[in-house]
């Protein structure tokens, strides 16, 4: 993100928007004051003037981020969005720790777009890559400490004593000498006018004194989420709003030719108007149900994409099939671009005792977040635009809206309600979000428009995790251990897949999980054979690792078998010089009661086996063991043990919840999920044809958090990638069949 692009952005939109419900989500208990109270709320320009420290210290525009209300609740504008991963609570813990305010008194919401919220070291602001806590940690601590400093100053004025005599206790400034205490809420209006202190001067709390960081603090949003009180984007209502539904062209790139029954549809009950959009038609109505029925009734003659359209968008070919594409990936030849080389792989393979070759595959997958995409757009009388939508990166979205509308970015206000799941779904994907359509419809109708995509339209326009065929060649030495490894992945990375043109450098997301492995294999080469995917690509939870660790770790087991090695012992051997990973691997083995591969007969009489998977994604380390059995020819995962080392932990309970969630998604992927295209169309348009993991398929989960003290890593994504290989490796052991692709539902183990 370019710094300064949004310099004049209004900081907080304080006009009393007529939302039908509370404007601020995540009211924690005791904070239901209802009325909007100005605490630290300042226009951005003023805030910026007060905090001109520059990018060296991010997140120092205290008034932009913090507001303390008379009732002592702390309202935090979180730079990171909450989508179930617990970020808001973690932010409250981190800020609260330094501000000296109990996290339970926090009211957290997603900050609007604006440079003052770009707290990441990169200067960007995006929720993704499991970066929120680890990347926001220093800035958010500093923010809390600065806020505390300002409150102390205000307290000094208020009490007429020197600052040096003051301390704080949660929510209060304390003058120990006189026994006087002042609530933060009573000082906020004074603190507001004070200059932000020099960030270099603030003293942070000694970690040994932490009261909330590192503890399983209760999440702030649980009660609201358990009682339906959260307004997701799809739930937001504003006065005068109309609803819209769209029907997309069956293939991306096609355009509206003609509509056979436009007039009839316009006459349908409740229908306000019928619209043509790029690659879609829309119906606007008083109720969404009418809009949806109307748009389904539209009979559109779709025209094939203009020649040349492919330079701007990914035109989906009419004959595209994933089955054919898979064959193509397996056999295509072309330029192999090395991402990692060590030693001399050619020599290594030549000198090897045995050479093992195999091709492994990963499939397209959908995000399948439970909240269908929506966007609500409103043009205001003063020419500004308000838009509500699920997103992971308000500034990027706003810049894109500015580009599309020709408006100045500062005239656009983005509201980012909580996400009903995202898993990478709410990044900026061309044609992957309803907001351009909502904006166009709001413009055309002069009314606020809420557009919801049906689940069917979502499955048609979701961005997919890339497909890959990875050709492995490995050399084993005389003892059966791998000494050389040559890996060529025929694929396109998610990042390079965002547009129509490829960047200069290799896309790291294409090969992460294949590259930079800690295993001591001296001669190796990891290369990409770039193959353009016809489908729109995107980030899926754990990105490249979500597939590549499966591919690598299952091939590693294949090597173990070929070399007559136990897969656990082999990994320990290959990691013998890596203390952190050796500890982790042993931790997960211990957690499972000691490594035992099987097959063995369990107490219930079922035959079972266990498998291992390891992964080093997003700055963290993970190792998993899965135990599987077969039921009517299908795989049942009985137990999963996972050890995760994110360096340091802010909230162990949230980490454990994230491990559970990541395991569920990893299992879903390896057991069930696959996006199939035929004739240029996805076969599944709803969960009916795209089954995802259900409760009765969820195994028992055992989590061990290992705090190595290393640099803080991510948590949301790292537990996932080890799961698919652990399961597949267990299945190979149980059935004696090599698994080289997902999902396992493709295989019938009954025969």
């Amino acid at each position: 993100m370019v710094n300064g692009l949004f310099d004049d952005a209004p900081l907080m939109q304080q006009e009393p928007v007529n939302l039908s419900r509370r404007r601020f989500m995540l009211t924690s208990a005791g904070a239901a004051t209802g009325a909007f109270v100005l605490g630290f709320g300042l226009p951005a320009r003023q805030a910026r003037a007060q905090a001109a420290q520059g990018p060296k210290y991010r997140g120092t525009q205290v008034p932009a981020l913090l507001e303390i209300r008379p009732d002592n609740t702390v309202r935090l504008q979180s730079p990171f969005i909450e989508g179930g991963q617990g970020t808001f609570t973690a932010m409250a813990q981190i800020v609260g720790e330094e501000l000296d305010a109990d996290p339970s008194t926090f009211l957290v919401e997603n900050a609007p777009a604006g440079d003052e919220y770009a707290v990441m070291d990169s200067g960007m602001r995006i929720t993704g890559g499991s970066m929120s806590v680890r990347n926001g940690y220093p800035a958010m601590r500093r923010l809390g400490a600065l806020g505390r400093e300002m409150l102390l100053q205000a307290g000094a004025q208020h009490l007429g004593v020197p600052v040096s005599e003051l301390t704080t206790q949660p929510g209060q400034v304390v003058h120990a000498a006189s026994g006087r205490m002042v609530n933060y809420g009573d000082l906020a209006h004074v603190a507001m006018d004070l200059p932000v202190p020099d960030p270099a001067s603030v003293k942070l709390r000694d970690p040994s004194q932490f009261r909330w960081i590192g503890k399983s603090v209760k999440r702030l949003d649980i009660y609201e989420k358990s009682t339906g009180k959260v307004d997701y984007a799809i739930d937001v209502r504003i006065d005068g709003m109309l609803h819209a539904a769209v029907q997309h062209a069956p293939r991306l790139g096609m355009t509206v030719g003609s509509i056979r029954n436009e007039e009839q549809v316009r006459q349908m009950k409740g229908v306000h108007s019928v619209h043509r959009l790029p690659g879609a038609v829309a119906v606007v109505a008083e109720r969404w149900w009418h809009a949806k029925r109307g748009v389904e009734a539209l009979l559109v003659n779709w025209a094939e994409a203009e020649p040349g359209a492919a330079s701007d968008i990914r035109v989906m070919p009419a004959d595209f099939s994933t089955e054919e594409f898979r064959k193509h990936l397996a056999t295509v030849s072309g330029k192999e671009e090395n991402a990692e080389t060590r030693g001399d792989v050619t020599r290594g393979l030549k000198n090897a005792h045995t050479v093992v070759e195999a091709t492994y595959f990963s499939q397209y997958v959908n995000h399948g977040q439970l909240e269908p995409p929506s966007a609500l757009a409103r043009y205001n009388p003063d020419g500004t635009l308000d838009i509500w939508l699920p997103n992971q990166a308000p500034d990027m979205f706003r810049a894109d809206m500015a580009r599309r509308t020709g408006m100045d970015a500062e005239k656009i206000t983005i509201h980012s309600p909580l996400l009903g799941g995202f898993f990478g779904r709410h990044f900026l994907y061309d044609h992957g979000s309803p907001y351009p359509q909502a904006i166009a419809l709001a413009k055309a109708t002069g009314r606020p428009i809420k557009l919801i995509w049906t689940r069917e339209e979502e499955f048609l326009r979701d961005a997919l995790r890339p497909m890959a065929a990875v050709r492995f060649r490995a050399g084993l030495d005389a003892t059966g251990r791998p000494v050389a490894l040559d890996v060529v992945s025929a694929t396109e990375g998610a990042t390079e897949g965002l547009g129509t043109k490829r960047g200069k450098d290799l896309d790291p997301t294409a090969l992460e999980g294949l590259t930079n492995k800690a295993y001591d294999i001296p001669d190796r080469r990891i290369a990409q054979l770039f193959v353009r995917n016809p489908a729109t690509l995107g980030y899926w939870r754990s990105v490249g690792n979500s597939m590549n660790d499966f591919l690598y770790e299952t091939f590693l087991d294949e090597l173990a078998d070929k070399g007559h090695q136990d897969p656990y012992e082999l990994r320990l051997h290959l990691l013998r010089d890596n203390r952190r990973l050796t500890t982790l691997l042993k931790a997960v083995a211990d957690l499972s009661g000691g490594w035992k591969r099987g097959p063995f007969t369990a107490a219930d009489g079922s035959r079972r086996a266990r498998g291992i998977g390891m992964s080093s994604p997003f700055g963290s380390e993970a190792a998993a063991i899965a135990e599987v059995s077969l039921e009517n020819g299908r795989v049942r995962v009985q137990e999963v043990w996972e050890a995760i080392d994110p360096g340091k932990v802010v909230n162990p309970a949230i980490v454990e919840a994230q491990v559970n969630g990541a395991i569920a998604l990893g299992l879903s992927q390896v057991l069930l999920e696959e996006t199939v295209y035929e004739n240029g169309m996805p076969r599944a348009r709803n969960y009916e044809g795209y089954p995802i993991l259900a409760l009765n398929q969820m195994p028992r989960v055992h989590v061990k958090i290992v705090e190595s003290g290393e640099k803080m890593g991510g948590v949301g994504e790292p537990p996932l990638p080890a799961i698919p290989p652990a399961v597949a490796n267990a299945v190979s052991t149980l059935t004696g069949r090599r698994i080289r692709s997902m999902p396992l539902s493709r295989h019938d183990f009954a025969s």
Binding site: R260, N679, A684, E688
Partner: protein, 453 residues
């Protein structure tokens, strides 16, 4: 695109017919047309063209002669037969690739006798044995419509993929002599006008028998009119079992009133059933466009066809016995009960009664009571195409469960359905499901409406 109905049955040419090949004269002669002497009539009236369009709705030409997304009546629909695929032809008035050069008599011979202008004979995928009953007036109107109401489109026909010698069509002449009834519909003077109109529509224009009448080994319909007990008594076609349209209370229309039938054909639904499978296409493109009088005539006529009590068994009655089996604890021991609760009950109800006209009951449904389980399996595997009534797609559709349920689970849940709520004990086997799984594909979740202009 989908498994839309091919109003086609397996066209197998009986070997005996080939052996009995007669003279070249016989097989190449053109059948007579009542319009032989009729010269050009000049420009047809708009009224006649409009009348022709209506007749085309009755005869549902579009079902086979158009494909989704294609121009109206340009053909192209692939019909898979055991001998190979054949393709419906272009019947727009284009002179080279369509029927623009056809005289009224040529058109008549094609429609009512199954012989093209060049003398080649149609496979009986074309329901000319039924169309033979069309009145001269309707044929004239239809001709006017196809010449003036349908835009000419130049589009070459696709060759059939049936290998020689089975692609020799002249043996069909013998098939026609033996099996195809000839002669326009003749009113039964013992019946009233409404009945006769209904008979004309059901036996003739609507060619209901093409799907609903069982076929012999030689693939002709076993009955072609109300005199035959086999007529529209139910038949398997293209992976669906088209149920009896006779007064069988279990497997036919015995429990339906005339009004029920009327509403079903008009709106696609009533309290007994919602159109699904192949019937969806017949409804979407044809029956809903019948005039109310014509639909009432159809209903009136169908209600006059006696059922077969011996075959149908004792009339079904609802039994509430299954309720207990569906309790969380109870259903774990009963194959299919858990799947029913998790996948079916939210729409069809724990009582199997469905939700009024919007979601059909499974209790007492013909598809649950008929011994052939194809329709039950097919709709579970593949869901159903969207029902589009008066231009508006249905609010509720049947999803496809092929990706979620194994053959065994589908067999179990259907066995459960088919033995609950008073339904007969009619089990479904894994093998039944496996076979249909291989032969069919999921329905589209998007509405498909064929163009007629």
């Amino acid at each position: 695109m989908t498994n839309r109905l091919k109003k086609i049955f397996a066209v197998v040419i009986p070997a005996s017919a080939v052996l009995a090949a007669g003279t070249a004269w016989f097989v190449t002669r053109l059948p007579a047309s009542s319009f032989e002497k009729t010269g050009s009539q000049g420009e047809p009236s708009a009224q006649l063209v409009a009348r022709g369009e209506y007749v085309s709705r009755l005869t549902d030409c579009v079902a086979c002669h158009s494909v989704p997304g294609g121009a109206a009546y340009t053909g192209g629909l692939k019909m898979v037969t055991p001998m190979g695929a054949i393709f419906a032809t272009n019947i727009t008035p284009d002179r080279e690739t369509g029927i623009g050069a056809y005289t009224l008599a040529d058109f008549d011979r094609a429609l009512r006798s199954g012989v093209a202008k060049d003398g080649h004979r149609f496979y009986p995928a074309m329901p000319y044995p039924s169309y033979a009953k069309l009145s001269d007036d309707d044929v004239k109107a239809l001709y006017a419509y196809f010449m003036k109401g349908v835009p000419a489109v130049h589009q070459e026909n696709r060759k059939s993929a049936i290998p020689w010698p089975l692609n020799m069509r002249w043996p069909l002449a013998f098939w026609n002599v033996v099996f195809a009834p000839s002669g326009v519909y003749r009113p039964d003077i013992s019946k009233d006008a409404q009945w006769n109109r209904g008979a004309y529509l059901v036996e003739g224009a609507g060619h209901c028998g093409a799907c609903h009448t069982p076929r012999s080994l030689a693939f002709h319909e076993k009955g072609t009119d109300s005199h035959s007990a086999a007529f529209v008594s139910g038949a398997l076609i293209d992976g669906w079992f088209a149920p009896s349209l006779r007064n069988d209370p279990n497997t036919g229309l015995g429990r339906w009133s005339e009004d029920d039938i009327f509403r079903f054909l008009k709106t696609g639904r009533n309290d007994h059933a919602v159109v699904f499978g192949s019937m969806t296409e017949a409804f979407n493109n044809s029956t809903q466009f019948f005039s109310d009088d014509d639909l009432r005539a159809v209903a009136h006529y169908l209600k006059s066809l006696p059922g077969n009590a011996q075959r149908d068994g004792t009339p079904w009655q609802y039994e509430p016995t299954q309720a207990k089996a569906l309790q969380p604890a109870g259903r774990q021991g009963i194959p299919g009960a858990q799947t029913y609760m998790a996948k079916c009950s939210f729409c069809h109800g724990t009582d199997g009664r469905g939700q009024g006209q919007w979601v059909p009951p499974l209790a007492g449904a013909a598809s649950s009571l008929v011994p052939d389980s194809s329709s039950s399996i097919n709709v579970t595997l593949n869901g159903s195409d969207r029902v589009v009534a008066a231009g508006v797609p249905d609010s509720y559709r049947m999803p496809s469960y092929r990706a979620q349920l194994s053959d065994g689970e589908i067999a179990d849940v259907l066995t459960f359905v088919r033995s609950s709520w008073g339904n007969r004990q009619l089990p479904v086997t894994n093998g039944d499901v496996k076979k249909l799984r291989e032969q069919t594909v999921p329905a589209s979740s998007s509405p498909v409406i064929l163009k007629i202009h």
